[in-house]
């Protein structure tokens, strides 16, 4: 690492080796060479005079890119694609005269970008599945543990710890549906020529339209795609970038919602993100455990969310068949959106694999709120003990107000049940009241919803062969 120059924290600190490798110069220009090979092979198949030796030499030099040589050429030509054409030609001299035949720069740059984006979506998908797998284990373990629900960020009816995790999972399930749609339909730009009219190829094939169409098809299939975009200008519509970034930022948003919830739960003391044994929470306050991983997710997610609009803006200002003001912007926006989202999901994998739940704390917080929420059940218990419904309601109203006042003014715990039990007008012993207020009676179908959700929605996602690695926990 060079400490004298700026380097991207996404590359130095946050993103995974696989994602960094995907957006590397080596991968990008290796794809260019594969595209040139596919083009030459297609042209040869369709009768263009290209020697077998040219194809063999090209195929033998797909990855040994001499970047120093490329830099020399680029200094002379001020054109990166032509610099690579010449460097490739030097490595495969038999092909020198036919590399890039009939093509425009966007043939390699646009097709290469689309391939990188599709692979990037596949990498993100694998990580999303891996997060879902961890959350599934978590949800199953805590399926029936009652917890305060919150609406308006105020305590509301109970839910369970596991049920809440299904909400986080469902967001990711929705993201996967979008991912799968995009992976299935993302086209290549294909073989379209300078303004997208395929004029140069029509000339190459002496007016044979069928051969031009066939070349497009051959190249697209050779690169592992099903389809090329039906029509293009010089470039594919930048709307595709915006659609891809919408999915990527959608994942970031799902992660950010999760991370915000974890930060609040950690603030409440209910659930904490993992904390390494030697981690330092605060340089000054030694006892502190800060939810720094969740905070980092939110930090990176805001960055990714800001990029989504950027891609739509680039699309909106492309004039006619293309303008070059997309180029520098896309070079930053697309890789960084993928790298940052990759980093977000690595953090989310780590957090979801090591969440620490504090049931005693969760129960204590329930105990402070539940008596207020249980008015109806308390009335029934009073009536069952021979009381009058109207009297019971009034007694509960009085004691609720008093208990709430004591909590707010004196910082007391909620002693409403004790007040009721001590009130002869109510006439139910404390033991019966506590049994009535067993939190498990207030969670509705939450545990069963968790079971159904895991079996019906999650199991099919985890069983599609897109393996997510179970955590390595073999060392004991």
């Amino acid at each position: 690492m060079n400490h004298e120059r700026y380097s991207s924290p996404l590359a130095e600190r946050y993103a995974s080796p696989a994602m960094l490798s995907l957006w590397s110069a080596h991968t990008r220009h290796g794809l260019w060479r594969r595209l040139w090979l596919a083009l030459a092979e297609g042209e040869r198949t369709l009768g263009v005079d290209i020697s077998e030796a040219a194809i063999i030499e090209m195929r033998a030099h797909l990855d040994d890119i001499d970047f120093a040589k490329v830099a020399e050429y680029e200094k002379r030509f001020r054109h990166d694609v032509m610099a690579h054409v010449h460097a490739f030609g030097e490595a495969a001299p038999a092909a020198r005269g036919v590399i890039h035949l009939g093509a425009t720069s966007a043939f390699v740059t646009d097709n290469g970008d689309l391939i990188q984006m599709r692979r990037g979506l596949e990498l993100l998908r694998a990580r999303v599945v891996s997060v879902i797998q961890r959350l599934a284990i978590f949800a199953a373990e805590w399926r029936a543990e009652p917890a305060l629900g919150y609406t308006h960020l105020q305590a509301a009816q109970l839910t369970t710890v596991g049920k809440r995790a299904t909400l986080w999972m469902q967001d990711l399930v929705l993201d996967i549906a979008e991912l799968d749609h995009r992976l299935a339909t993302l086209p290549l730009r294909g073989v379209k020529g300078t303004t997208g009219t395929q004029a140069s190829f029509l000339e190459l094939f002496k007016g044979d339209h069928a051969k031009v169409r066939e070349l497009d098809r051959l190249v697209v299939h050779a690169m592992g795609f099903e389809q090329s975009i039906p029509v293009s200008g010089q470039t594919y519509s930048r709307k595709l970038d915006a659609q891809v970034l919408s999915i990527v930022s959608g994942i970031a948003a799902s992660a950010a919602k999760f991370a915000s919830d974890i930060r609040m739960l950690q603030s409440f003391g209910e659930i904490e993100e993992p904390f390494e044994k030697e981690q330092i929470g605060s340089s000054a306050m030694a006892y502190k455990r800060n939810p720094m991983r969740s905070e980092r997710i939110n930090s990176l997610a805001r960055f990714v969310l800001s990029l989504e609009g950027n891609a739509n803006q680039t699309h909106s200002v492309q004039y006619f068949e293309r303008t070059l003001d997309d180029s520098a912007n896309r070079r930053l926006v697309i890789p960084e959106a993928f790298l940052a989202t990759d980093a977000i999901l690595i953090l989310m994998e780590n957090i979801t694999g090591g969440l620490e739940v504090h049931p005693a704390r969760i129960r204590a917080r329930i105990a402070d709120e539940l008596p207020f929420m249980a008015t109806e059940k308390l009335i029934v218990s009073a009536v069952e003990a021979g009381g009058d419904r109207q009297v019971a309601h009034e007694v509960i109203r009085r004691h609720s107000i008093a208990a709430a006042r004591a909590m707010k003014d004196d910082g007391a715990r909620n002693d409403m049940l004790a007040r009721l039990a001590a009130d002869p007008e109510f006439g139910v012993p404390i033991g019966n009241l506590e049994a009535t207020l067993d939190a498990h009676h207030f969670v509705g179908r939450a545990p069963e919803q968790v079971d159904d959700f895991l079996a019906e929605v999650i199991a099919p996602i985890l069983a599609t062969g897109h393996a997510a690695a179970p955590a390595a926990e073999i060392r004991v």
Binding site: S130, L347, L454, H466, A467, A471, A472, E473, I474, V476
Partner: protein
Amino acid sequence: MTVTVGSTSLPLPLVVRGKVRDVYAVGDDRLLLVASDRVSAFDVVMNELVPYKGAVLTQMTAWWLRQLGELVPHHMVSADADEIIALVPALAPHRDTLAGRSMLGLRGQVFPVECVIRGYLSGSALKEYRATGTLAGERLADGLVEADRFDPPVFSPATKAETGHDENITITHVRAQLGEAVAAELEHMSRLIYERGRDVAATRGIIIADTKFEFAQRDGRIILVDEVLTPDSSRFWPADQYQPGRTQPSFDKQPLRDWLDVERRAGRWDGNAPPPSLPPEVVQATSARYLDAFARLTGAPLDTSSLP
């Protein structure tokens, strides 16, 4: 009195000091791996050293590599202290530290992947199965119980980032990072070695429930490196007590775990570092388990006569 070793200080460049092993560079081309007698349980490293543990791990790896020699290329040059000293004379004054516990190996470019392979339903795999009935991208048969056997075994690579947070990876990432061909070869070799190891161990009364391998690239070949099919890199279960449907006892660490469990239940230990001091009989029982595992597996007791 047996010599136990906690951490070492040899006149060679230290490459990495692990939880239980120290690795030194020998020239550019080779590595010296020294297994200490440190032991961990429930993710905590104990204060006490377990006699012979380092020697058992190293000699067991050496034994396996000799068995597997025709199956896969590997890194071992020698696990004999005198041979190692003959090759690296600077180590002569440290024979007592090295004896039994050290292995000289070829150095390669280690793939950043732990090749985890599972033959039985246990650990985090069990948790996933209980939640959704799936594992590593497949839906497993209904009705499996803890410790049931899989056929074929399940390959689920993982890695840990070098700094900061752990990073678990998926097969998709292994392919993206190392290429389809290397990823497929790592899986193939892992399956081959594990299945051979599982079958051999089964005839000796030991179930190897799961394990992890590391591989390196050297001169264009993939070689097996690091420790191989030891109790520290695998789950060893005693076959005669195997009973699906419950947590299996650990062949090597059960006396230690049982004792720590009692301490935990009695509220004398919270499960985190620092660990409680182990009584000598627990340390001895653990040592005996390691020696027993070695003797059963290899058919002969560890030769302790040449150890200090």
